[in-house]
């Protein structure tokens, strides 16, 4: 399943790259894109565990930038 989420207050391009790299490492993630320009997270992950994976992705985003909000 592939879903897209808006990110609020994603302030730096390098942070976006770090978030993307960390999210891609989460087990069950097929592909992930964090676009600084679009201020978006596009997550392609296992259907059965999607919610769990999404929560892990949000945590990964907060670890890089605590102020960045994911609009769910």
């Amino acid at each position: 399943m592939k879903k897209s989420y808006s990110l609020i207050d994603l302030d730096c391009a390098n942070c976006a790259a770090k978030m993307e790299k960390n999210i891609k490492k989460i087990d069950g993630v097929n592909d992930a894109t964090v676009s600084f320009l679009a201020q978006k997270l596009i997550l392609d992950a296992d259907d059965t565990r999607f919610d769990e994976i999404l929560a892990a992705a949000v945590a990964a985003i907060h670890r890089v930038d605590a102020d960045c909000q994911v609009k769910l």
Binding site: C12, N14, S35, L37, A38, K40, I42
Partner: protein
């Protein structure tokens, strides 16, 4: 000022106030109004420092808590706290201040370019007037079902794809193609969402749900295009991953080794400058920002690109392969020449032929009627007889007229002139009272700008131009000759087209782009390095299969697209090389003459220049 967001305005004020405070305190220090001791001066410098940097400090603390050691906020904090520790108070405030200037600038630039895409999103229809229960209800377009009737008032956006059932108007495709081109519509015509209605009121039966409408497809494409990354962007991101730790590592070495040996604190200063220069953000942001601007520039001209990677690949185009019908030619049949026999006039010949074919709905009859216009109406016709597979016989103004192919003439014992055998197109022969009167050649015509497009592409450095078509060899040869193409293959079935493209892929040196009209070229569009679909109006298959969608029907758009691609690539490289040169230059220079002011100024300056340069791609 007014164009800034609330947050940006607040940051700008914060920067200006801190700058004023810094300047005031610095002047007081230099003029020795303030006494020397640290406990008096330091707190005064800390006021602008905290004012301008509190969010950076806060984030760096949060970053450490989350184990993000090389986070840019953390690096800035170390650099400035370090500068304070060695007594460089104004420098410390200045570094933080300028860092914020750079951030603000970057924020504004990104917001601007995002807004330019938002302007494109303006084609999204907000509401539809749908006829329900004997009245009109205003609903969101996605609540309208297929088969319902929507009313479109003058100057409104067309909310959904459909067929006009009542009314006449002209619709403008400006917002989709970038070119103002009103098109007349009347009952029975299909209209496309995203266009703007003209002066007439239209009733339209919806043929597609909003989610599958043209405007939704385009919006989806534009939105998704922002998330596809170019190879250059990925490379720079990877480089940044190495660059920051390397520079920080160097900073640690520079701080430790010479200081321990020489016991001179000025090496610590050099190390702190390394930290200031270690942030790769300018580099990381400038690449996608430039591609974003390039995609925006193309979309203003009605060229939609599905991602930065395609624009990047197009800069390297070496082979362009075209489909023929509908791509290089109009795809509609017209009388391209009239060849009257001795003693007949061209106009008269066309009028007679069109009149005799008046009741037929065959494409040949229609193109004859279109060419003859009003002149055919004055002719009275009776006793029309269809001769299957050959043509028609009729009595027009009292004369027996034959219109048909060579077999018809042969059957009637009339000798056709032999010079028409190799003509590219369909020939309609005409005989009057048993005498050969002439012929009309009906063929597809090249688009007006097709020849110019070929010249432009050659001038743009495309090494190989080729045409692949399923049409007859004679027709292909004539089109190729008219356009100055030597490389063409005719009579290809769809599978053979794919094979032909594969062969060209083996021979290419750069990028191979295939240009088709999308209806039956989907496999080839997918196989090419970059598939370009043309005339996307109403063709979902085109929008889906292609990497680039031309909203207009013009082959000359491809040369424009290549120019945008090349320009974008050049700007990307300018930025990468410029930023790297300045950063590395300062790293080296600081080993000999550490100066925090200059380093900060240069580092932020590079970022600002790179961003300004990136926005050039959007023009």
């Amino acid at each position: 000022m007014r164009r800034l967001t609330k947050k940006q305005r607040r940051n700008l004020i914060r920067i200006l106030v801190s700058a004023g405070l810094l300047l005031a305190v610095e002047i007081l220090c230099l003029t020795k109004v303030l006494p020397e001791p640290v406990y008096i001066r330091l707190p005064l410098f800390l006021v602008p420092y905290f004012l301008v940097g509190y969010d950076v400090l806060r984030k760096s603390v949060l970053g450490i808590a989350h184990g993000q050691l090389l986070d840019e906020n953390f690096l800035m904090t170390i650099a400035t706290v370090g500068a304070m520790a060695i007594g460089e108070y104004p420098e410390a405030v200045f570094v933080m201040l300028f860092y914020q200037v750079g951030e603000l600038f970057q924020n504004i630039a990104v917001g601007r370019s995002r807004k330019s895409i938002a302007a494109l999103m303006d084609i999204r229809p907000e509401e539809a007037r749908v006829e329900r229960d004997g009245g009109e209800a205003v609903v969101s377009p996605d609540e309208v079902a297929v088969g319902e009737v929507v009313v479109i008032r003058p100057w409104e956006k067309i909310p959904l794809d459909g067929v006009v059932i009542e009314g006449t108007s002209d619709v403008n495709t400006l917002s989709l193609t970038g070119e103002s081109a009103p098109r007349d519509v009347a009952a029975g015509d299909e209209i496309v969402s995203g266009c703007v209605n003209g002066a007439g009121l239209l009733r339209v039966r919806v043929t597609k749900p909003f989610g599958e409408s043209t405007v939704s497809k385009i919006l989806e494409l534009v939105e998704n295009s922002q998330t596809v990354k170019s190879r250059a962007e990925n490379a720079v991101t990877k480089f940044a991953r190495v660059y920051t730790p390397a520079v920080v590592g160097l900073a640690v070495l520079v701080a430790l080794i010479p200081t321990l040996i020489t016991r001179d604190l000025h090496w610590v200063k050099t190390a702190l400058i390394f930290l200031v220069v270690s942030c790769p953000c300018a580099l990381v942001i400038s690449v996608p920002l430039t591609y974003f601007a390039g995609i925006g520039a193309a979309s203003k001209q009605g060229i939609l690109i599905k991602g930065a990677n395609y624009l990047e690949a197009l800069a390297n185009t070496d082979t362009v392969v075209f489909d023929k019908t509908g791509t290089l030619t109009e795809g509609s049949f017209r009388v391209s020449s009239v060849r009257p026999a001795a003693g007949f006039e061209a106009e008269r010949l066309l009028a007679i032929a069109a009149a005799a074919e008046r009741n037929s709905n065959h494409p040949i009859a229609r193109s004859l009627a279109a060419a003859a216009g009003d002149t055919a109406e004055a002719i009275t016709v009776h006793s029309v007889e269809e001769l299957a597979g050959m043509g028609v016989r009729a009595v027009a103004n009292g004369q027996t007229v034959l219109v048909g192919n060579a077999r018809l003439l042969a059957a009637e014992g009339i000798a056709p002139p032999d010079d028409l055998g190799a003509v590219a197109g369909t020939v309609a022969y005409v005989a009057v009272d048993g005498v050969y009167a002439g012929a009309a050649v009906i063929s597809d015509v090249c688009k007006a700008d097709a020849a110019e497009a070929m010249r432009d592409l050659r001038a743009a450095g495309v090494r190989r131009l080729a045409m692949l078509t399923g049409d007859r060899a004679a027709v292909a040869a004539s089109v190729a000759e008219e356009l100055g193409l030597t490389d063409y293959r005719a009579e290809l079935l769809p599978a053979a087209k794919v094979e032909a493209v594969e062969r060209l892929l083996d021979e290419k040196q750069g990028t191979l782009a295939f240009v088709g009209d999308g209806t039956n070229d989907a496999p080839v569009l997918a196989r090419a390095d970059v598939g370009i679909a043309m005339g996307a109006f109403g063709s979902d298959a085109a929008i889906e299969a292609a990497d680039v969608v031309l909203m207009d029907d013009k082959p000359s758009s491809i040369a424009r697209l290549l120019r945008v691609a090349r320009r974008t690539r050049r700007i990307v490289w300018e930025n990468i090389l410029f930023a790297l040169a300045v950063k590395i230059g300062f790293l080296v220079w600081n080993l000999f003459m550490p100066n925090m002011w200059a380093a900060t100024f240069a580092d932020v300056g590079v970022a600002v220049l790179a961003i300004l340069n990136a926005s050039r791609a959007g023009k």
